[in-house]
Symmetry: C2
Subunit: 372 residues, 2 copies
């Protein structure tokens, strides 16, 4: 078991990571908060895989435990689904003495955190992520949101959890494709800010396809530490935190253009990181050796992603809809050496378009898309 | 013109109050923020009364000004209506360079502030209140929300505006009934925390029915100063801020039980304050002279409110649905002398019920409701 703290101005909370740690860690934090009502928010898939799992962990504590089971999938990450959480809380006559537990992946975590931010203008919540992606990415840092039909995570809040409990046993029920998708975000943290984590992952690359709990505990903890440090320095993403978006400009485009649900977020980020590393190499921020190391770690993990054709206008339009975009240009996260991401403002889509075409020629197995 | 500052940890913002001050005050603050897009959120009634008023004030500034016109009324203060604001922002391809202006009463202010809290996880907004109630109550302090079918303001956020611009000329188009309703909240600030404000209002009680801008500028400024001081000490309502809910326990019950829309919030607060003063007198916190002063200032302003019959169970249930309620008891805001409100935790509905019956007998013209 490993624990680390996210230290923010005015708040700090523990992350507990390990196999078989759920009951003790969750009982401790729920007991400490002494609320009257716990609402476990989860989805139909997890409710079927682990029926009553959270309720069992909390048995005997002097708290009413209820659940709210949502449909499974990114397409349900909407204001309409969020309203179901509020409906359930109101039907239970919940007040500020309520505590929410997000039991699921990133979609459940984002929606539960946002509901906790808004219900009665704020009640506490705990993250119990069940996917690798949620472990290393969405469950830490307090970004919560739902999607709008015209933009991912367009409506949300910054709302830090009271604790994050990462039970690695849940990863055993994770489909291999989702495990792989989470691995990209884990590796990302090494690429952008911790070259020793990158070294460790390179050295243990064989473990990236396995389920060795010793490896994953170490890898997840080191990856989370990077994210926690970045968030601690810039909770509201005024500058530094934007480096966590490495690979995400193209990833958001891929997710929107390929259609929500046809590609996993982590898969899109994997492709986006390969492109961002390529762009960094072209801009001179990465030498051939470093670019090669990143490419060689990521490429074997990728599966080709197919998208409808793109032209320069569609490319620019899709990139600019990204909420990081200012007028006409965007902030592109690039590398200035392995382990050192930088934000390059004023990047025009027209500058990236020919590089995307070159990248597609050089790495045809990453993205299958006709460009004209 | 009067200005005062709301000083919060990590943020402060100006309130500008006066007749004929809109253009200069609004241009200054919008110009200072230098955003690319301003979205004016208002309702159909105001769009008809003051077509293009905000746009005219901002003419010539290098900013795109758009509007979002919502239906008028408390019954539209919902997540569904909120979604219209997000739809408009997304259709305009707005990003974090957007600035929202709430041009309306409390409903518009609450929804616009909440939309600003959530859009892209937070964009700035400015309050331009058009009602007396919004001037002295909802536009200051950063409480934003929408209603849930089962609870008023159940879903919201704390989100401070960048500035509040109170143009008193807008009060000239306010129906007398709404002017009266706002007057109750204005007087409330004297009752709970500023006996010299109460003295001033007593002395100028004849002006409470008129439109003398000199009187209103002074009265609104002094009332806002009380609210700003309370909010500065306790933004998130962990303790002190709850005194602003003086009169609101019964007011929320009245609004819910009489049905949203049939009674104005301020009217319900007027009745609730008379009851809370009566309870305070019974508890020994107010002597007969002080209770008499409060009663004599408020009573002439009230109109009888009719409600369906109440029994003790319905009374308790309606009171406990109030979000200030803990398990079985509630926090009741009482007076310990005129100008000094205190929060009395552990108040049981069963203790208040017979006092409500006595109050109804003593002041039959306030509430018309059969009790059994």
């Amino acid at each position: 078991m490993k624990t680390l703290d996210v230290q923010l101005p005015g708040a700090s909370y523990p992350i507990t990571i390990g196999a078989g740690i759920l009951d003790a860690a969750l009982r401790e934090v729920v007991g400490r908060h002494g609320k009257e009502l716990v609402l476990v928010v989860t989805n139909e898939t997890l409710a079927g895989l682990y029926p009553g799992r959270i309720e069992a962990a909390l048995q005997g504590l002097p708290v009413q435990v209820e659940s709210c089971v949502l449909p499974d999938g990114e397409r349900y990450k909407t204001l309409e689904t969020l309203a179901h959480i509020f409906d359930r809380l109101m039907a239970l006559e919940a007040n500020r003495q309520a505590l929410l537990i997000a039991f699921g992946g990133g979609v459940i975590g984002d929606m539960t955190g946002f509901a906790a931010a808004c219900f009665m203008r704020g009640v506490p919540y705990i993250q119990v992520p069940t996917t690798l992606l949620a472990d290393v990415d969405s469950s830490v840092g307090g970004k919560t949101a739902v999607n709008h039909p015209l933009g991912k995570n367009a409506i949300g809040a910054f709302k830090q959890p009271q604790a994050v409990v990462m039970e690695l046993d849940f990863l055993r029920s994770l489909p291999p494709r989702e495990m792989r998708a989470g691995t990209f975000e884990l590796i990302k943290h090494g690429i952008i800010r911790d070259s020793t984590l990158f070294d460790f992952l390179e050295e243990h690359r064989g473990d990236l396809d396995g389920m060795d709990p010793v490896f994953w505990e170490e890898a997840v903890a080191r990856s989370c530490r990077v994210k926690a440090e970045v968030v601690a320095q810039d909770e509201r993403e005024t500058d530094l935190r934007a480096i966590l978006n490495f690979g995400h400009s193209l990833a958001h485009l891929i997710e929107t253009h390929a259609g929500y649900g046809s590609v996993l977020h982590g898969e899109a980020v994997g492709a986006g990181m390969l492109f961002a590393a390529y762009v960094s190499h072209r801009w001179g921020g990465l030498d051939s050796y470093e670019y090669g190391r990143i490419r060689d770690l990521l490429l074997p993990l990728t599966q080709p992603i197919s998208m409808p054709p793109l032209d320069p206008d569609a490319f620019a339009h899709l990139l600019m809809h990204d909420k990081k975009a200012g007028s006409g240009t965007l902030k592109f996260v690039a590398l200035n050496g392995l382990g050192h991401a930088v934000i390059r403002g004023g990047t025009a889509p027209a500058e990236l378009w020919p590089m995307l075409q070159d990248f597609l020629r050089e790495q045809p197995q990453v993205l299958r898309v006709a460009t004209a």
